[in-house]
Symmetry: C2
Subunit: 110 residues, 2 copies
DNA sequence: GCCGTATATGCCGACCATCGGTATATTCAT
DNA sequence: ATGAATATACCGATGGTCGGCATATACGGC
């Protein structure tokens, strides 16, 4: 799973969100580092939906604009949990090796 | 940075390794989940070298076979440290959100 | 009244890291 | 002698992401 995909799932793990809200949440989560392009986002949303990791929660019309809300499925929740565990483990291994080289880890920024 | 690239850097963070040893270390690190293909590895090695993140440490001939050892540069060390911090932070955010949904994290496997 | 920005979804072509297969060559086990 | 392991390297295909564009409404500043 690539980073943008992981971030989209993480955004939806918080609460059901519509596309634009996902872009904003991802930007907030990463301190502005990752600004998802519309192309990336909607392609990812379509792909995740056809893979059964997310599904449409509801649709709303706000100020005559459509808002399509997505939410994680049980399968998506499991995938995100597995991916998160993987990330943690890999980070821990790299961190340990860097520590042996004399690199110290303080606060981490996204 | 994609996962295979991160794993290659992590492998070299342990000690200078030649290509085949990187493949083995990555497989060991991930519990056999990631088995780097030759194409992926040598392309990554070339790319990381031209980006200045790794460099050739030494070359040896063992049983009439060439072994080209690579090692991290100072720049590669910094990149890996930054990437590791990023992974940690993102994993922590996802974990917290999953926890709020009632998902508990026990031991993590790579 | 007009322009730029923000909100909101969506399509499309290009890029490039990775994948999977192939080639080459030696050593070791069956 | 056949296959697996060791070891490096090239090549075409795949596919997720990037960047740009289109469409449409609302809001703030000038």
């Amino acid at each position: 799973m690539r980073e943008p995909t992981f971030l989209v799932l993480t955004a939806l793990a918080g609460e059901p969100r519509h596309g634009y809200a996902v872009i904003e949440d991802v930007a907030a989560m990463t301190g502005g580092r990752v600004r998802l392009r519309a192309g990336t986002l909607y392609a990812a949303l379509d792909r995740l939906r056809s893979d059964g990791l997310i599904e449409v929660d509801r649709e709303e019309i706000v100020q005559s604009r459509l808002r399509r809300y997505y939410k994680l499925t049980a399968s998506g929740e499991r995938s995100l949990a597995a991916e998160t565990a993987r990330l943690r483990t890999q980070a821990a291994i790299a961190e340990e090796r860097l520590r042996l080289r004399g690199i110290t880890f303080g606060g981490a920024t996204a």
